[in-house]
Symmetry: C2
Subunit: 459 residues, 2 copies
């Protein structure tokens, strides 16, 4: 039996004997009795265990420390307290493993910084129970959404010779002996001697390979780790994170926006539906109004507006900007915030200046903008970035040359435009960005089980 | 509309006009008519498109090459052929993108070696359509199984300072300039200057971190990439592959075996149910008897036997072994095969000699064997490897010291035994090993979208 089951069937189980194994989250001792907040990890809520001095080894039971694992037997009873439905009147509480007095996670408020250093223990706190349960629910909701729509899940490679966007900084991967590196005659590192006989690193995107699979399966998605070797020590950047990258053939940028909106609403609805207790906790202690925010998203209509019209709107606004909005330029966080407030909901910004977007995006007829789209979400900023892809071989080749990119290693990607190419589109969503939005937790380090950031690779 | 939908509703759609976009898999031309085997990627089966010389631009249509993308309009009709239910009588076929005459994937048998070099195009063949559809179905079945059982999906880190089992060879990950490496006074590489301020590599397992999460959520599972830098150029080894690693608290080795058996049967049943056409194809062209093999697994009882008794059995067998079975030694592939044939089904081999198993496995009372279990499956060999974990702090510490392992960096792992430790167990299953079993395809390179093996990191 487990706690989840008890709460699910509590009416039926009242008066019966139950037996549980789990952990002590809190232990309040009185002279003749005591209360244990008990968790076995199967649901967010703890279960109150009550014992009195008639229990076997009362004095030993009173010594049980927070964090210890215990085995209990008792009778499930209606709780006299207003904030809980049932509790267990214990007949027997036995210690499995004593956490001792130095157990780092005591029943008090710990700082998030401290808990990051205890990342292997922090899932035992309410905050991280909530966060990682939401993470689990959101991950499965994403899979469920795409599977129901007939998308094929594809695992694109992590180790790669491509640098994807030609932009993100990559980690190098090697098995060479760094103290004894093989050199070419010219004095460069001789990567022919390396494990893969070439220079490789960790991928920054699975998009290019996903495009290849979309040209065979029409609709595909990735959901896997990606990496950035950028030395960005911000709340929103991690060196290792998970991305969802759907790619659809015979789909233009309008179809893409339809999918993005539909998927996001589905995932938010699933979380609202399946993480009620977790969201209630997060709403109370992390982001006031979280549940309202998520409900509003589900009910909202997503606005679609071009980058040009956004700049016009921003210029007209009676706001003193830190960064002056300019045609042809990227928009800043303050602009994103203004936009989502102005439209009172999520906003798709389309038709971006080509020079601030990636090489593979479809050139519009004006030859100045590309069919890119960023989704700005209230309280989240840019949540998804996507585009229709350039399906014209010559145009793509020209654009790559214009940007000084090498075709070497990307011939296959170009060939997708030669061998049965078609209109196709895709987007990327950082899973942790979504989780920051869903949980209200503001630091990416707190939505990743064991975060990797510059200077930090603990556990 | 798509081909999947057409086959699903074919009775209703006969006689109606349909419109499709997709790719030419084959094109047979006669003087006055032609047949196109058409795929839009939405299901395994192709759809036959028939046209005759009355079609608009008949001569142009006849020039359409295999691999091209096309747009068709026509009427769905009952097919006169026995091996297909419906076909499309085309009114209009227009070319979207011509694949040309040099398209590498012609409608003929290509060698798997050739197709590996064309990994970006091979999903357009029947074989790889089948394989990657099975991969997708199996992946979602695994998630579904664990979610229904209340397991929490946890994403353990890929970049790590731990070498996991103390065994697997790891890829190094660095952002140091290899031509200008910082050195310590002693002349070693100064990893303090590296991105993470320490020496890191790509993980060989997520187990240790999964154990930490199991001690908060009871039942968890990973499903993500792992890496091996071993120079093994075999059919069964890849340098990058996906693993499933469940971990359960308050679960001993018997509960572990129950779960392994139940999960495997669930996944096989899902694939049998949802990949009927794919399996029929694989049964016919790749492994005769595949479907029977899978059905037998679902119906079978898994035998449980100790390593000691296995050796006794093998020694008694009237077989001339290449490798003589010995107490205290590992068993070879020929032994595994004999075992599964002898018991006519899957076999759990338990109680392994401690010296050939990992440090974290629970020591049995004999102090000679550990509570490890390998699952041997007919036609697959070792499919899963797991164990009850040593939950005793002192015993684990002693074993690590015995093996000359450093505690440094693993203090947190040891601490799991100090802070509310409990009986717990887990296993690992290589996803691609499972796929080799499910598809009958014998080379791991052919069940991974873009495989990475020594000397090969294409795409």
């Amino acid at each position: 039996m487990d706690v989840k089951e008890i709460y699910a069937k509590e009416e039926k189980l009242i008066g019966t004997e139950i037996e549980l194994q789990g952990w002590v989250r809190n232990h309040r001792k009185q002279k003749d009795f005591g209360f244990i907040a008990f968790s076995d990890g199967t649901c967010f809520k703890t279960l109150q265990i009550v014992y009195d001095k008639d229990i076997k080894d009362f004095l030993e039971v009173q010594k049980i420390h927070v964090g210890s694992s215990i085995h209990i037997k008792g009778i499930l009873e209606k709780s006299p307290k207003a904030n809980q439905s049932v509790e267990v009147q214990a007949n027997e509480i036995s210690l499995i493993n004593d956490a001792g007095e130095d157990y780092p996670i005591q029943a008090k408020q710990h700082s998030r910084e401290f808990l990051r250093e205890q990342a292997y223990l922090r899932p035992r706190t309410n905050l991280f129970q909530a966060v990682f349960r939401v993470r689990n629910i959101a991950a499965f909701a994403i899979h469920t959404y795409f599977q129901e729509k007939g998308f094929l899940y594809v695992n694109t490679p992590l180790i790669t010779g491509n640098d994807g966007e030609g932009a993100g900084e990559m980690f190098q991967v090697t098995t060479l002996d760094l103290l004894n590196l093989p050199k070419t005659e010219k004095g460069d590192i001789d990567f022919k001697e390396d494990f893969f006989s070439s220079k490789v690193g960790l991928t920054v995107t699975g998009q290019l390979e996903a495009e290849a699979f979309a040209h065979a399966f029409k609709n595909v998605y990735t959901f896997g780790p990606t990496f950035r070797a950028e030395n960005s020590n911000t709340q929103k950047h991690a060196s290792e994170f998970w991305m969802i990258e759907p790619e659809m053939c015979f789909c233009d940028i309008n179809g893409l926006m339809d999918l993005e909106e539909d998927m996001l609403k589905f995932v938010v609805k699933e979380v609202l539906d399946k993480a009620k207790e977790e969201l209630a906790f997060l709403d109370q202690f992390v982001e006031k109004g979280l549940i309202d925010k998520l409900n509003r998203l589900v009910e909202s209509t997503f606005t679609r507006i071009t980058h040009h019209d956004v700049i016009t709107l921003l210029k007209k606004a009676n706001v003193k900007w830190e960064f002056e909005p300019e045609y042809g330029q990227d928009i800043a966080t303050e602009h994103e915030k203004y936009l989502t407030e102005y439209f009172n909901g999520p906003v798709f910004v389309t038709s971006w200046p080509k020079d601030i977007k990636a090489f593979y995006m479809k050139m519009n007829e004006d030859n100045e903008t590309v069919a890119a789209v960023d989704l700005e979400v209230p309280g989240a900023g840019e949540l998804m970035g996507g585009s229709q892809r350039e399906e014209d071989y010559q145009k793509l080749l020209c654009r790559m040359r214009e940007l000084g990119m090498k075709e070497e290693g990307l011939e296959w990607y170009l060939n997708l435009r030669k061998y049965g190419g078609c209109v196709h589109s895709g987007f990327g969503m950082g899973f942790e960005r979504l989780l920051i939005y869903l949980t209200g937790v503001d630091n990416i380090r707190d939505v990743i089980p064991f975060p990797r950031t510059p200077g930090n690779c603990l556990f």
